[in-house]
Symmetry: C2
Subunit: 121 residues, 2 copies
DNA sequence: CCTTATTGATTACAGCTGTAATCACTCAGC
DNA sequence: GCTGAGTGATTACAGCTGTAATCAATAAGG
């Protein structure tokens, strides 16, 4: 699975949300904050195709694009990469880190505890 | 805090481990797997200086380099960025994700539980 | 039929990144 | 004093990224 650039990722998100879509449809759904032209979206789609992150099927004169892998798979790989790089592959320091930065609310803590409890059984 | 590229990050790690260091000393300590020449390390140091990620003090004819911010700060920002992008800012889905991928051992789970317990008090 | 809008493909171009080589300077040793 | 080794600065260059514009083909509408 090749690396996906930040901008390309925005396009993947659109297609993970809904697919297959035409280039124009993707352009409509990209977050407006990006301020992308249709041309830019088309560039992204081409690059993602070249990287093997998207597949396309012809539909008349145009293509329908769809992701070549599931969001969960990509997200898992990317998270693993970060945790390896920054926390020696261990999740506990990440949790500790976030806790220390007050990025964990009381509700978060309880939610994770519940999840872990389930995992143990 | 400006973005740090993957290769630059390797240099930061060296200096977070031990600093201040000269360029030659950094080069010695960079993971050999990189196969970097001294010249490459010097380029990285210059770029990190330009980005404000390093500070340097003159020592005779050369510089001593040191990080301009703590590893924890950088790591916290970078983790936050990923969690925002991929998990809507919430940690629980990340934990769930990793668990589903068998990236969590029984020991991890207990460790995190202990940590959370402490946080609650 | 002719024009216009659409669509993928090709090209553009600056900035960042990886990976150096070269240059100019200077200090240390002979 | 001269030479060689070490040092930061400058330059190099290809590949990736963000952000398009342009082009050629074609389908659709009048």
């Amino acid at each position: 699975m090749e690396r996906i650039a930040e901008g390309e990722y925005a396009v993947m998100e659109v297609l993970w949300e809904e697919s297959p879509l035409t280039a124009a449809e993707v352009a409509e759904r990209v977050p407006p904050g990006r301020g992308w032209s249709l041309a830019t979206v088309k560039t992204m789609l081409s690059r993602l195709l070249a990287k093997g992150a998207l597949a396309h099927e012809q539909e008349g004169r145009r293509y329908l694009y769809r992701p070549a892998f599931a969001r969960e798979d990509y997200v898992a790989e990317e998270s693993g990469r970060l945790i390896d790089r920054m926390f020696g592959g261990r999740l506990t320091p990440l949790v500790a880190q976030l806790a220390a930065r007050d990025r964990l609310t009381q509700a978060d803590i309880e939610e994770i505890e519940a999840l872990l409890k389930e995992l143990k059984s």
